[in-house]
């Protein structure tokens, strides 16, 4: 009962038109670049994408935008992308901006079976409009709901055949949350290791969250802002 697949093109066939897909990554760091490319090649349409950002014009989720595969996106920041701007202003793309912490917590809640939660984030702002308000110990909060994806696409550093995953540094970001919130989670890794090689005391994503795992080759890992010490 290994969960290892060998072909990205094969595995993305489980993604169907109209699916909600939660995608790990922050900016371009830790994005599942191989699965996104295969999904772009497959051309699946009318996707609802849940991801903190939406890539850049020619990389990451930007590839799906260029193909007009995305119907709606939930994100906290979408400022690096001209294709996005065009489609949004044309009305081709539906956008729900979600505060970053609320987005993370909504995905975490989806994976954890928490239907809704109250947060002070966004109270008194446009984000709170139409949402249920409630006071706790004198502090007003708004009700936000959990997000579950038909599919989650995540990128990890190391993984094994059961789907246990380790992430590296800040490329962890939204990936463990996405992994838990997908009805089917596809994890791509830089390195596949043998069962038993990972220390059970230091697993970031336990294997039960992952349905499919693949090794990606030659990760490009583009850098958005290369800053170095003088």
């Amino acid at each position: 009962m290994t969960k290892i697949s060998t072909s990205f093109n094969d595995i993305v066939r489980i993604i169907q038109d109209g699916d909600t897909v939660i995608v790990g990554g922050f900016g371009l760091s830790g994005i599942p670049e191989k699965a996104i490319m295969a999904l772009a090649e497959q051309g699946t349409k009318d996707l609802t994408i849940v991801s903190n950002n939406c890539g850049v014009d020619d990389w990451g989720l930007g590839l799906l935008l260029q193909n007009k595969q995305i119907k709606k996106i939930l994100a906290s920041y979408v400022g690096e992308n001209k294709v996005f701007e065009e489609q949004y202003l044309n009305g081709e793309l539906d956008v729900e901006l979600v505060p970053q912490g609320t987005l993370a917590e909504r995905i975490r809640a989806g994976g954890a079976g928490i239907s809704g939660f109250y947060t002070p984030t966004g109270v008194g702002t446009p984000i709170a409009e139409g949402k249920e308000h409630k006071k706790f110990n004198g502090r007003t909060c708004i009700l936000e709901t959990g997000i579950v994806g038909d599919i989650a696409l995540v990128k990890a550093w190391k993984g094994d055949s059961y789907g246990n995953l380790l992430y590296r540094k800040t490329s962890r970001n939204f990936n463990p949350l996405a992994a838990a919130a997908g009805n089917k989670t596809i994890a791509e890794v830089e390195e596949l290791v043998e069962i038993g090689d990972l220390d059970p005391n230091f697993i970031h994503t336990p294997g039960l969250y992952v349905q499919h795992i693949l090794k990606g080759e030659n990760y490009e890992k583009r850098i958005e802002k290369r800053t170095v010490r003088a």
């Binding site: 994100a75 701007e85 505060p99 987005l103 917590e105 984030t121 109270v123 702002t125 958005e224 170095v228």
Partner: protein, 220 residues
């Protein structure tokens, strides 16, 4: 005579105390990191999942898996840690960040902050700002006192959509420092090159003047 930006940064860095956990916003706030005295043990929090931001990396150790919330390549300091975004905002929302320093577009006399969108312009998103202003124990806004047309950015009430309502603890501009208290907005300090009349002229918001107000040397 220093620039507005230098004045703001010089003043704002004094908000940071030894032992604090601090979140610095993108842009001018990020620059504060360069001015924290080396003697202080401060942990800088980056909401993408890093506690203990170090300096920018040397060219040969640039790592695409190690960035800050502004997507810049960084390093991690000793004692630092990496975690996911839910944990990162648990730290913020749960009140575990001692201080957040953010930029602003408008601040109202009630301590409202607007810094994320201008109606009619393309909206890029709020990122983590709405969470940070609600969650950090102390929220300090740094910004120029007036906009490029010379108009006050400190308003009776914000015209722009809010990032948070009654969330600002302290506002530091190029000419003044204000606190937001139960008794409203209070002028606490007059910075170098400024005076009370100038501040009154440039401030739309209603404020009182602290009786122990301090005035920097060189104030006119």
């Amino acid at each position: 005579m220093s620039t507005s930006r230098e004045k703001i940064i010089n003043r704002a860095v004094h908000e940071i105390q030894d032992g604090m956990t601090v979140n610095l916003g993108i842009g001018m706030p990020t620059m504060l990191a360069n001015f924290i005295p080396a003697s202080m043990n401060v942990y800088l929090h980056s909401e993408n999942g890093l506690l203990g931001i170090g300096p920018y990396p040397h060219e040969n150790v640039v790592d695409p898996d190690l960035i800050n919330a502004g997507k810049e390549t960084v390093t991690v300091k000793e004692g630092g840690s990496f975690f996911d975004n839910a944990e990162s905002f648990a730290m913020i929302r749960g009140g575990h960040i001692d201080l957040a320093v953010l930029g602003g577009m408008e601040v109202s006399e009630k301590g409202d902050l607007a810094n994320w969108m201008i109606p009619g312009k393309m909206v890029k998103g709020m990122g983590g700002a709405m969470d940070i202003v609600q969650g950090a124990r102390k929220v300090v806004i740094i910004m120029n006192h007036v906009n490029k047309y010379g108009e006050s950015k400190i308003r009776a009430s914000c015209e722009l959509p809010l990032t948070g309502s009654q969330v600002v603890s302290r506002l530091i501009t190029d000419i003044a420092v204000f606190d937001f208290t139960d008794k409203g907005m209070v002028l606490k300090e007059i910075l170098e090159g400024a005076n009370l009349d100038m501040i009154r002229n440039k401030t739309e918001a209603d404020f009182s003047v602290d009786k122990n107000i301090t005035q920097k040397e060189g104030s006119s």
